[in-house]
């Protein structure tokens, strides 16, 4: 789409949206948000980019192929279930490392997997639509 205003606005917006996506992703465990919502947000950002600058631009920007991204998301999510097996717990049980102020665990990995899988799925459809 040849609209200078939209192009310029996109350049400003996209960074903001992606940062917001990261924010939504990270706050997900305690406040509304999470991997799925963040993926939708990032997907919206990239569709804006795809509409203004074309699919090739998006491909260059994300560097890895959407299908690879989706599959690695699946692998990451499934892999996040494995550490529990080493502790003799059922597959996908959350394993946590915590200090007094901070806790991190495999659910975060799992959520990243969800993020990548959903974003990869959105991008692959988007780019296919854009290129067709």
């Amino acid at each position: 789409m040849k609209s200078v205003i939209l192009k310029t606005a996109t350049r400003l917006m996209i960074g903001l949206m992606l940062v917001f996506a990261v924010y939504v992703f990270l706050r997900g465990h305690h406040e509304p948000g999470g991997g799925f919502s963040a993926a939708l947000l990032a997907g919206t950002a990239f569709s804006l980019l795809a509409i203004t600058n074309g699919a090739d631009h998006v491909r260059k920007a994300i560097r890895i192929r959407p299908s690879v991204m989706a599959l690695s998301g699946l692998a990451l999510a499934a892999g996040a279930g494995l550490p529990a097996l080493f502790f003799g717990k059922p597959f996908l049980t959350g394993i946590w490392w915590q200090t007094e102020t901070f806790a991190a665990g495999t659910p975060l990995l799992f959520d990243s997997g969800v993020f990548l899988a959903v974003l990869g799925a959105i991008l692959s459809i988007l780019l296919a639509l854009e290129e067709n």
């Binding site: 939708l40 279930g81 806790a103 659910p107 997997g113 969800v114 899988a117 067709n132």
Partner: protein, 763 residues
């Protein structure tokens, strides 16, 4: 692939691989031999590992007399078939595939006979079905091999489903799935209301697998397989699985009038029909296939009996048949391999050219005909004694056995005399004996028929008796002797041999009669199968044409109609139970949103352009998302809003590529019946969903789950956002499944959007 005399002793290099692979069956055979003395003494070896305990599916195995007998037959035949096939299949481009299938099949078969858990047995059972499909259709370039393989798969696979149903019914009636435990609750099972249903399911499973009338037609067609496979399938394995199942179920379900009459009648019909048809064809392999039908029928007939005598007869004949049938199939394969034909009209005088094969065939056929001194004779004597000892229709059983045996004698004479005696036809002048690998199997098994015939006491003590005791509670010993004295069975035996000779003399006339009979049968089961299959396919095609006609409107109407029909028919009778439709209450802002959503919906319905309609849809979605927000579900609101936005973008992208927009609502003048139908459909769908939602809302909510997540989400999963904790922690397996679905859907979508190869841009 004709081999000239100098080559006969040399084994080609390429078949050495096949020779190595016979280490597997011989090793298994040796292992079974180690357990043999214990089993003869009455020991039962069992092992059990948990597999899926919640489904009562365990890796439970059991080695007793019956499974030992079957195991020995399977591994021994497997061993000789492997040796044989190493030459028979030499040079075949898919040699390796053949041996993998063959041995996988053997192991699946061993799984059936050693499994103590019915579900485990079912799994092995279906494995043999699938592997036999691959084996029968091994020459998959030939269309009839594919066709016959599919037929075998359909018939035995459908029977397998019946078997599964029987197992599940048995389980739901409150009984175990472990065979050894089942036989202890035999009385309970036989008096249970579900017994007839369970019995029918198991019977259909066993009958399809063992080719009993009316499911017999797939078995002769299975001859499209390479000959070593036919030998294995027919002599030792696959088709005997049904017989094995009947033997195993004997202590559990046997002895009822239903069991006895069904088995005797079905077995009798199969035996007679198989024996009559065996006289018909000129193809040696086909003749053997029909005699297998006869043998399976006779076995079923004897399993209908309840006395030790008739069960001993069944077990003895099982061994007799396995020995002679494997030998004959392999020998016929040799003839085919060396001469290029199996047609009786083209064969003759081979005794001078293939003496050892002729000897093996002589041993096997004489045993098959039941000549004295051969194992078949012992089998026949005990068969007559067993038939007369049946509880139901003993005279019928004896009559069937007598006529089937007489016909078998004639068939044995045909197999022995026609190819080997007489004048050697000119086109067979260059025929020579096969390599030793192809002779050893028939020769050994033919010889075994004589050895067992001479020492029946040893056989009965070490093989037959332990097997019978494994599935019959009475420990009544039956001794087998070469000569039982002058009694009724001996008289019947003599009648059999003489009438067999008479039938052989009249074979030309009889063959004509049988062909006439088969041609003029009003309807036959193969025809029924064929027409049923055709009708099934045309029905499927018609249904597909109606439902999948490419119109999106039709798809939507079908989906909505199904929803209204199913949900409505279940739900509407309960509508009266709703106390009252709750008054719409809530903050004013929610009321405003409600009006907004309604307005947006009105825009969707009345819009004249696609873009406007889609904008309206987005409005509905956004409004609903805001309603979620007002009622305290920020997570859902956020997700919904984002999904709506993305959907809007995607749909717009699609719209940009559609042909120029036309007004979607036609002028009012052309009011169509379709419009009325769609209106009725959508209004009724709306009503059903509305009453459903109000029904859900008017029932008090169970808050125990919410309370659980409220207390546990921070303590166990370190998260304060319950929704997210459920998604990534408590129910993460569901989420994993869902993202798999998303990725799959995207993959499918991409391939739908993209143009075919060649037209699309490189990614």
């Amino acid at each position: 692939m004709r081999i000239t005399p100098p080559d006969t002793e040399a084994v080609p290099d390429c078949c050495r691989k096949g020779l190595y692979s016979c280490l597997l069956p011989s090793g298994l055979f040796a292992l079974l031999c180690l357990a043999w003395p214990g089993v003869v003494n009455g020991d039962v070896f069992t092992v059990q590992w948990a597999w899926v305990p919640s489904l009562d599916l365990n890796l439970a195995f059991r080695l007793d007399g019956l499974s030992l007998l079957f195991g020995l037959i399977i591994t021994m035949t497997g061993f000789f078939v492997t040796i044989y096939a190493s030459s028979y299949m030499a040079g075949h481009p898919q040699n390796g595939r053949f041996f993998v299938f063959l041995h996988a099949f053997m192991i699946a078969m061993l799984g059936i006979v050693f499994a103590d858990n019915l579900l485990l047995m079912f799994i092995c059972w279906e494995a043999t079905t699938i592997l036999s499909f691959l084996l029968i259709g091994f020459d998959h370039e030939k269309s009839d091999a594919r066709e016959n393989a599919r037929q075998a798969l359909l018939v035995t696979g459908a029977g397998g489903l019946f078997l599964l149903m029987g197992i599940l019914l048995l389980k739901s009636a409150g009984f175990s799935m472990t065979l050894s435990a089942l036989s202890e609750s035999a009385d309970g099972i036989q008096n249970h209301a579900l017994y007839p249903a369970v019995f029918i399911c198991f019977m259909v499973g066993a009958m399809t697998k063992s080719g009993q009338v009316p499911f017999h037609f797939w078995l002769p067609n299975a001859m499209s397989a390479p000959t070593p496979i036919s030998a294995f399938l027919h002599a030792a394995t696959m088709v005997k699985a049904g017989i094995y199942l009947l033997m195993r179920l004997h202590p559990v379900m046997g002895g009822t009038p239903l069991w006895m009459s069904t088995l005797v009648l079905v077995g009798g019909a199969t035996a007679l029909w198989g024996a009559i048809q065996a006289l018909g064809p000129c193809d040696l392999k086909r003749i053997l296939a029909y005699t297998t039908l006869m043998a399976l029928g006779v076995l079923t007939l004897f399993l209908g009996g309840q006395t030790v005598l008739s069960l001993t007869a069944a077990t003895t004949f099982l061994m007799v048949h396995a020995l002679y049938k494997a030998a004959l199939f392999l020998a016929v394969g040799s003839i085919d391999h060396q001469t290029g034909t199996r047609d009786l009209n083209d064969l003759g005088g081979l005794v001078t050219r293939m003496p050892l094969t002729a000897l093996a065939v002589a041993g096997a056929t004489l045993s098959m005909a039941g000549f004295p001194l051969f194992f078949g004779f012992i089998g026949k004597e005990i068969m007559y004694a067993g038939a007369l000892a049946e509880d139901m229709f003993p005279l019928f059983a004896a009559g069937i056995t007598l006529s089937a045996n007489a016909l078998m004698t004639a068939v044995a004479a045909i197999i022995l005399i026609t190819p080997f005696a007489g004048v050697l036809p000119a086109h067979l002048k260059n025929t020579w004996e096969t390599p030793w690998t192809m002779r050893i199997g028939p020769a050994f098994m033919g010889l075994l028929g004589v050895v067992f015939g001479i020492m029946p006491e040893w056989v009965s003590e070490n093989l037959i008796q332990p097997a019978v005791f494994a599935f019959h509670p009475d420990r009544e010993e039956i001794r087998l002797f070469l000569f039982h004295g002058i009694n009724l069975p001996l008289v019947l035996s003599i009648i059999t041999l003489t009438s067999g000779a008479v039938i052989y003399r009249q074979k030309i006339r009889l063959r004509r009669g049988i062909r006439f009979l088969i041609d003029h049968l009003w309807v036959t089961t193969p025809e029924l199968y064929q027409s049923g299959l055709t009708r099934f396919l045309t029905t499927a095609a018609t249904v597909t044409r109606i439902l999948q006609n490419g119109s999106l409107t039709t798809y939507m109407s079908v989906i909505v109609f199904t929803l209204v029909l199913l949900t409505g028919s279940v739900w509407l009778p309960h509508v009266a139970d709703i106390a009252s439709i709750p008054a719409v209450t809530g903050p004013y802002i929610a009321m405003g949103l409600f009006v907004f959503v309604l307005g947006a919906a009105a825009v969707v319905v009345t819009a004249r352009h696609r873009l406007a309609a889609i904008g309206g849809l987005g409005g509905v979605g956004g409004g609903v998302a805001l309603i979620f927000l007002v009622f305290g579900a920020p997570d859902i609101a956020l997700t919904q809003l984002l999904v709506e936005t993305l959907t809007l973008i995607f749909v717009s992208l699609i719209l940009l590529r559609l042909p120029p927009m036309e007004p979607i609502v036609k002028p009012r003048a052309t009011f169509q019946a379709r419009t009325l139908r769609n209106a009725i459909l959508s209004i009724s769908a709306g009503l059903v969903v509305f009453t459903l939602v109000s029904g859900v809302v008017s029932t008090p909510l169970d808050r125990s789950l919410t309370a659980f997540f409220e207390t546990h989400s921070y303590l166990s999963a370190h998260g304060r956002n319950i929704v997210n904790v459920i998604l990534v922690d408590f129910r993460s397996l569901d989420t994993l499944g869902e993202i798999c679905v998303i990725v799959l859907a995207a993959w499918a979508g991409v391939h739908l959007i993209r143009r075919p190869f060649g037209q699309r841009k490189a990614p």
